[in-house]
Symmetry: C2
């Protein structure tokens, strides 16, 4: 399959849906919607929504039904970037090569834009109820799953642990916990939610979830590797920031070669686990392989 | 009816449920849960959850079914207080007589605690699905309604407008819009959600919604009056802050007497509108009357 064309097509699908869900000038408070849109359309890879759509496809589901959930995942991801970039958090001025939300607007607006995106993500999913007539319980399960992955038991908890670990030595086990929560939980939820919405059997959803968990870990390892080896122009942010900020990384703990080898092994396992899903899971496999060679 | 005993009983119900939903030491990141609990159990009046339960009662519904929704509303309210108090927003050091979340912990933790509470509110509601077997579409409608009231079309939008209006002259109409969004939307959603969850007819839910809208406006007028006339010890915060911060208020725009008269007239209308609901709406009426004489 032509992965590049596939990703481009899916990205277009997601971008058009996001534009329809959150059009310009919507709502009574123009400024906060502008800030929400500024960050939402700042050129993200749309990895989480694409994983969700690919998860639905992998069980023979309809990508149209998965689209609101996919877009909600991107809104949650974007809110987390806005808040993580704030001065009180990671204090970043650049994101994807552009000024971060609080640099482009101001801190108060950035906090509200994040809050607005997080809230809108849940509104959007609940509002998809008519698409799920007779299967409303499934939609509620998906909302619960995504909220759990995004909240204190997942992403929010991971960011807290990450901040607490800054500047001190962490073990490989601690680093895994931080990243399993901070980035892994939502990536896993994306694939799993796709499988659920797509009408997958429990066995299929379990296989997708296992893929998502390994994918999440590989994502973080390769992200760390990029920070060591990447080029600023391709990444849209400065490499070497992790070391500068005293953040623990896999290459720092394991060495570059061992970290890369581990990522490769994990992805092999993740892809093998998709065997029961057959041909329909090919996009997920391709995205997994791509992760190992990505340059941004 | 004995309103004091009623409020105490309902507050107890809500507090026990919140304690069960978010117990100490829950989740992988201890600190963020501590901060969430610190603000959630800082002695709030539990007005929104009580309105939600009273809305369910008013249509003959079961308060047990409304309890997760009621608690979610309190989590959303608490998150909004935490974020509004941040230095980049209203920059408050005291809330309900205690240090605000970012003063007790730190800014990053307070941002995450707010994010965690907002996310948990939606998780909690979606997780109530088994209580709504066969009525899942109704639960989704309630989630959508609350998200809309909390997001950029409601509370978040109102806070944005409020920040933008600081230090400049606003008209009465603008002030109404700000408060309808900032505080009115969630109060209205609380009563309406109660009516929906309680199984009210569309006519009953419409009557409750109209009550909620007027209640929200009276709430803000009396809040402004308290800021002019209240005692710090009873309020748990310093009176006169609105004037100091250059915030527009109803007494400032209308005069104290006219503002009080308007609040009284609005509450009369609100209470009259509950006539079709009969005796079961008595708690809502009593809470409405109480609003006019509240001292905190």
């Amino acid at each position: 399959m032509d992965l590049k064309a596939y990703l481009q097509d899916r990205r277009g699908l997601v971008n058009r849906a996001l534009e329809a869900y959150l059009p310009q000038g919507r709502g009574p408070a123009f400024r906060v919607v502008e800030a929400m849109r500024y960050s939402l359309f700042a050129g993200g890879k749309r990895l989480r929504p694409i994983l969700c759509l690919a998860g639905a496809e992998a069980v023979g589901g309809d990508t149209g039904e998965a689209l609101p959930v996919a877009c909600a995942l991107e809104m949650i991801h974007t809110y987390s970037l806005i808040h993580d970039d704030l001065p009180a958090m990671d204090d970043d001025d650049l994101r994807r090569g552009h000024p971060t939300c609080h640099r482009q607007f101001d801190e108060a607006t950035a906090i509200l834009a994040g809050d607005g995106l997080l809230t809108e993500a849940f509104r959007l999913m609940a509002d998809a109820a008519p698409k799920f007539e007779g299967r409303e319980a499934l939609l509620l399960e998906v909302i619960q799953l995504i909220a759990q992955a995004a909240g204190y038991q997942g992403m929010v908890g991971g960011q807290m642990l990450d901040l607490e670990a800054e500047g001190r030595q962490v073990t490989l086990k601690e680093l895994e916990t931080i990243h399993r929560l901070k980035t892994g939980a939502l990536l896993t939820a994306a694939v799993r939610a796709g499988g659920l919405v797509g009408g997958g059997s429990r066995a299929e959803v379990t296989a997708l979830t296992a893929f998502g968990e390994k994918f999440g870990l590989v994502f973080q390892i390769t992200d760390d590797l990029l920070d060591v080896e990447g080029e600023a122009a391709e990444m849209g942010k400065s490499p070497g920031m992790d070391v500068k900020k005293g953040k623990a990384t896999y290459p720092a703990l394991l060495g570059v070669d061992k970290a890369r080898e581990w990522a490769r092994r994990l992805m092999d396992e993740a892809i093998n686990g998709l065997a029961p899903l057959g041909e329909r899971a090919e996009p997920l496999r391709e995205i997994g392989r791509y992760l190992l060679t990505r340059r941004s």
